[in-house]
Amino acid sequence: MAGFLARRLLSYAVLVSVAASLAYLLAATALDPRSNYADRTPKPPPAVVDAQLTALNLNDKTPLLQRYATWAGGVLHGDFGKTVTGAPVNEDLKRRMGVTFRLVIVGLICGSLLGVLVGALAAVRQYGWFDRLTTGLSFLVLAVPVVVLANVLILVATWANENVFGRYVFLVSGEYSDGLTTGFLGHLVDRLQHLILPTISLSVGLIAVFSRYQRNMMLDVLDADFVRTARAKGLSRRRALTRHALRTALIPVVTYFAFTFGALLTGATFTEKIFGWHGLGEQLINSIFSNDVNTVAAISLLAAVAVLAASFASDLLHAALDPRVRA
């Protein structure tokens, strides 16, 4: 078991380092930090620009492999280099990680739990009104990209704030209001007001995906022999479904979780950017515009780690739910 885990972690480490290196090389080739200086007035002399870029390890006159070696050496020591403005990448990302983490976790929990619940209910009453309604809604939701959904949410919330509530119930920008003096409870409410729309924007898609998948998995096991055995024992339909069918149908859904995680990260990126949350996703988009190679590479590495961690977590969860794979 230990040997197996070690091999697995090693292969993860290889994947992460290759992915991050690839991201760095791509970013270093495609992005052009030198252009940042072009628009400055007064235009700095080329020698100064060169010196600054070299200090940041961003000088395109240095051979690519040499820049890569410098970067990789730093990363191995836990140093992701400097941003284009000269600030350490580590500091910036450390602050932003918490923001993204909060958003993703809340979205994930809401999305998967509600999705599984909705899917299971829909399957139990197949063709009932609930099934039809949720099927229709999930089709609709799956057709709306996050960028549209988020904007629609903002439009609707703005309208509702003005016309329904008459005050700001939904806050559409940032994580919290600055300069609040309402004490702990007030802060909490303020954070919730900010959290609500981004969470909806992130988890509605997940709910749709998970509910479709859970519904189909449920329907697959509804006809299974073991559910028939449970019924033949004298269990009522409801008990046979919840105790035997739902429990078993959860297993494939858990493995599905790993597949959706990458998409979730992308969704979080859009959500952050549109709702003005200062998380990793927003920074990624900003840093591409600002030709910030080191930040881009660092965020890619974190994303790779997150995807693999999710896949590992889903395997652990799979093993916890299914005695057959535990053995």
């Binding site: 994947l15 992460v16 290759v18 992915a19 690839l22 991201a23 791509l26 970013a27 495609a30 992005l31 052009d32 197949q126 089709f139 609709l140 799956l142 057709a143 709306v144 990209p145 996050v146 960028v147 549209v148 904007n151 629609v152 439009l155 703005t158 189909n216 329907l219 597949f259 990458g262 990260l265 992308t266 990126t269 859009f270 950017k273 990624l284 988009i285 591409i288 515009f289 881009v296 965020i299 890619s300 994303a303 790779a304 995807v307 693999l308």
Partner: protein
């Protein structure tokens, strides 16, 4: 590979007609309400995108300097933008691009998934390990990220390159499913029979394995169309996809969302058309899945 008409006439005399599989699937597809709706709506969208400009009084390059940011009217059906462009004409132009990008990217990525997945699943061993590793690597790097990094490379007018790149990041999950199914198809006795008959492996893959996964692949290609359109939209929204002067759903939505509060027509028409298009594609995909899989029929 099918029996030619002459051979039929020579060797076999009268042959009772058996409904072909394509026809059976088509019949089942059009028997379902959602299949019909999806097909009709998508056909309508195509018609609108490609025939619409013919009836529009304005072309997407025209600017009406008498009307900036005007609401819909008989003169400008969908209103106008800040620049005086006709929203109807520009939206249709964007829709053309998005539809073409979506279709092409889906086709390329599904073909790639079919080949990579089935080779990995059929040969196993080193072939599989290498292909799986590449697949995993691309999964670990979120597609959005790489496409965004590469966006400076897609200059104006280079949308074809963008399509290829988009396709390169859509195939992995399908390929994993194809691989799993190829492993099980390889165990199927008709593939074993072909092996023991001496049919070369590559020919077995293209003649027996991939055709037997065609239902999955067709459904997946359909669903990839919607994924590609959505991804294109998101990327273009942030300026990482289609570059001006080309327009697409994404660039239009990005511009429209800024003015949506006071000029709803700049946002809602294009957003609505996008949602309706993707919805239609998804409905088709779902109905196709049912049409291919006889056991799922009673589920619907």
């Amino acid at each position: 590979m099918t029996l030619s008409e002459e051979q039929l006439a020579e060797g076999f005399g009268a042959v009772s007609k058996v409904p072909s599989r394509t026809r059976v699937v088509a019949r089942r597809f059009f028997a379902s309400t959602q299949g019909r709706i999806g097909f009709a709506v998508l056909a309508l969208m195509f018609l609108l995108a490609f025939a619409g400009p013919l009836i529009s009084p304005w072309s997407y390059t025209d600017k009406d300097f008498t009307a900036f940011m005007q609401p819909p009217s008989t003169r400008h059906w969908f209103g106008t933008l800040q620049t005086g462009s006709d929203v109807f004409a520009v939206t249709l132009r964007g829709m053309q691009k998005s539809l073409v990008v979506g279709l092409l990217a889906a086709l390329i990525s599904t073909a790639l998934a079919a080949v990579v997945g089935s080779f990995g699943g059929y040969f196993l061993g080193w072939t599989d390990r290498t292909l799986s590793w590449v697949t995993d690597l691309l999964l670990v790097l979120p597609a959005f990220l790489v496409l965004a990094i590469l966006s400076p490379v897609f200059g104006p007018g280079q949308w074809a390159l963008f399509v290829v790149m988009l396709a390169l990041f859509l195939w992995m999950v399908t390929s994993k499913i194809v691989r799993g199914m190829a492993i099980s198809v390889k165990q199927r006795e008709f593939v074993q029979a072909a092996r023991y008959m001496g049919v070369p492996p590559v020919r077995i893959i293209f003649r027996h394995v991939i055709p037997n996964l065609s239902s999955l692949l067709i459904v997946d290609a359909t669903l990839n169309v919607s994924t590609a359109i959505l991804t294109e939209t998101s990327l273009s929204y942030f300026g990482f996809g289609i570059q001006p002067p080309d327009v697409s759903f994404g660039t239009l939505i990005a511009d429209g969302s800024k003015t949506a509060v006071y000029a709803p027509w700049t946002f809602w028409f294009v957003a609505g058309l996008l949602v309706v298009t993707v919805l239609a594609v998804n409905l088709i995909g779902d109905a196709l899945r049912d049409a291919f899989d006889p056991s799922s029929g009673r589920r619907r």
